[in-house]
Symmetry: C2
Subunit: 462 residues, 2 copies
Amino acid sequence: MQNIQSYIKEHKNRFINELIELLKIPSISADSAYISDVLKTAESIKISLEKAGCETVEICETNGFPIVFGEKTINKNLPTILVYGHYDVQPADPIELWTSPPFEPVIKKTDSHPEGAIFARGACDDKGQMYMHVKALEFMTSTNQLPCNVKFMIEGEEEVGSKNLNEFVKNNRKKLKNDVILISDTGMIANDIPSITTGLRGLSYVEVEITGPNRDLHSGLYGGAVANPINILTKMIASLHDENNHITIPGFYDAVEELSKTERSEMAKAPFSLENYQKALNIDSVYGEKGYTTNERNSIRPTLDVNGIWGGYTGEGAKTVIASKAYAKISMRLVPHQDWEEITQLFKNHFESIAPKSVKVKVTPHHGGQGYVTPIDSTGYQAASKAYQKTFEKTPIPQRSGGSIPIVALFEKELNSKTILMGFGLDSDAIHSPNEHFGIFNYLKGIETIPYFYKYFTELSK
Amino acid sequence: MQNIQSYIKEHKNRFINELIELLKIPSISADSAYISDVLKTAESIKISLEKAGCETVEICETNGFPIVFGEKTINKNLPTILVYGHYDVQPADPIELWTSPPFEPVIKKTDSHPEGAIFARGACDDKGQMYMHVKALEFMTSTNQLPCNVKFMIEGEEEVGSKNLNEFVKNNRKKLKNDVILISDTGMIANDIPSITTGLRGLSYVEVEITGPNRDLHSGLYGGAVANPINILTKMIASLHDENNHITIPGFYDAVEELSKTERSEMAKAPFSLENYQKALNIDSVYGEKGYTTNERNSIRPTLDVNGIWGGYTGEGAKTVIASKAYAKISMRLVPHQDWEEITQLFKNHFESIAPKSVKVKVTPHHGGQGYVTPIDSTGYQAASKAYQKTFEKTPIPQRSGGSIPIVALFEKELNSKTILMGFGLDSDAIHSPNEHFGIFNYLKGIETIPYFYKYFTELSK
């Protein structure tokens, strides 16, 4: 890839400013108040892809938010890379914890990002990482160095479970035909320790509702005599973990892939400081499943977390009330071989079975997806590894991630091709949290590394 | 009491309309958005008391909302009755469950109130019941039948724990000097089964905060590896009751008054249908402490209820987040001899002790009060009993209530006089709930019964 560093140096400010403009649009797919912003973002992606050199770009309508599809074919006999990303973002709350407004991007230096980072919702997840691919394409087309064919599929519902992508993929197998899928929606260990994500956890997300009395009651007149839905909900949720923090849902672990001693000791080689980890989160101690390390707990083991809980009086002051209803949003992270629909059913059956007959319980499945593993001997992984060696001058470490990109398993099933997860974010980039940011170094390094993946993948595919 | 029935008949519509005007003011003391409405309500009470025949009425400032004090002395040698009530109301939420706006009173018939009931927040608790005393005074003064001296003390902070009443009472012992205290802020069994509340539960109300990581985290990257404050909070709250629904806080039951078999069988005589109770609440089963009946559970036994819980993402859709903090509002109803401040301390010590070291816990006491028992052989109780016999033509049943009026214990301590709880509301009046209401029959019957209490108390005090 000739002149790539000089090209990036020359266009650096424009690359940054274009991303900042994109980050100003609050494309929150989970909140219907932002529908027009999400649609506006799709339009802006379309224009960017056209400018970057795609021959055809279309906004494909779905039952939800549209999918932006673009492609450039230079030679039918050459391999085709399908780039996937998403233009929607997480909600920004709790808004009061942001040090600058989530949709007014600013560049600030941090310990991990001495060269500065862009602070905004979506900076890292996934607008910034997705846009690296657009700029990498721009470089390759404008310098006539695109070595193969490329397709882009950028969706707007990843943060709400890719509701409509499934159907789109099934109905467009031919259009999406490819030799490898490339995604940057994960992280790496550190700016001087490149890593490639080889495993993802699956997900099952449900909402539960407990109903006790048919109306809110005075806790003095009824307290102690009727089931309090909030007390019951806490009892039911608490019972989902035993004293060793194993999940108590019958059958939950049946399909779990147990790693060998060798694999676990390989994993253990990844540099990790428990002290720094705890310090970064300001916690005195970690907490999790007995018999596993922190890195195992958040990658190769399934989990169950309450993501939200509410009920009764939560306003200012005091109200002596027994609420009629209590609610919780609960998600389970799954590991390879656990089927998310089966786990969702196991949860539903179990949760309903443990409710005392003094309350009614309703379990509503939200969304989910399967886990995934990328074989490190695949052509795609080898090409990615070489690309990192070229730009970071280090061999990247293969790493299992605790996160979920449900559609990766879908791609393998429907499109029959492997996905390579070239993530350039850091764990400390606070994705899904207040003050999300993405390092300038990481953004530009991604733009530099991606073209080499194209180059080596094309060469290794011969 | 001559012509009382004809007087009530003649002025019935005005009595109802005056109350409706009072109910239109949203005097929610727990929410600072309503400060001016609460103050406006105090003004309106002052005017009502003056019209009703009080010689002097003053609005006594406190560090919070003012206390309206009025009096009429006819003869220093005659006994003095101190009427206590409150003009503040509970918050109206959940607002969407009201069939008519909470501060736009309307009269509707119900099964328990075939003659109609006024629907509005505060209709029963306590504006309606307090206003009965104002109208009863009006009758006695305008017909020259007031048999003794009377004082009114109407506060505006009862629903937030009477924060400033304590100091006011301590600083005004002489001004408040009385022979008996009369309160209508409780209920009776049914319109044809009059009852007088002889026992009240104490209260300890606390708020708890659990802090895990210093920021919201992505549940995929951190799930299973760090303590989730919501999961921890549910575990901690669940552990506060054992499998028999006994409260597990060490020392919690030490001071609890255990009733004798005889007392319990006396209580059991009060008419009660478990079937109707469950039907009215639309529950398949009651739930509570093992070894006690429903009526015992909500009157002679202490309880612990979560009144509100919140944390994480509670908005539309799904957010895969691990919250940094989780909160709950928890209240304990106490029985005679349990000291609320001691119980609050026991809770705090215990709750802090059961927190795993992976989280930080903060317990903030809100407010509280002691339980109380009225001896049925006291002059006040005897006078009340005779009054009910006169107007209901039935002897009222002495009944323990599960509710708390913390200031009753305060009155006994500071003013050294007994309190008589002449409540005319019904359990089904939905106080603290959406669609609170107060029966027209109950309102007028209260106005009719109160003057007889004055009469008999004066006679029995000779």
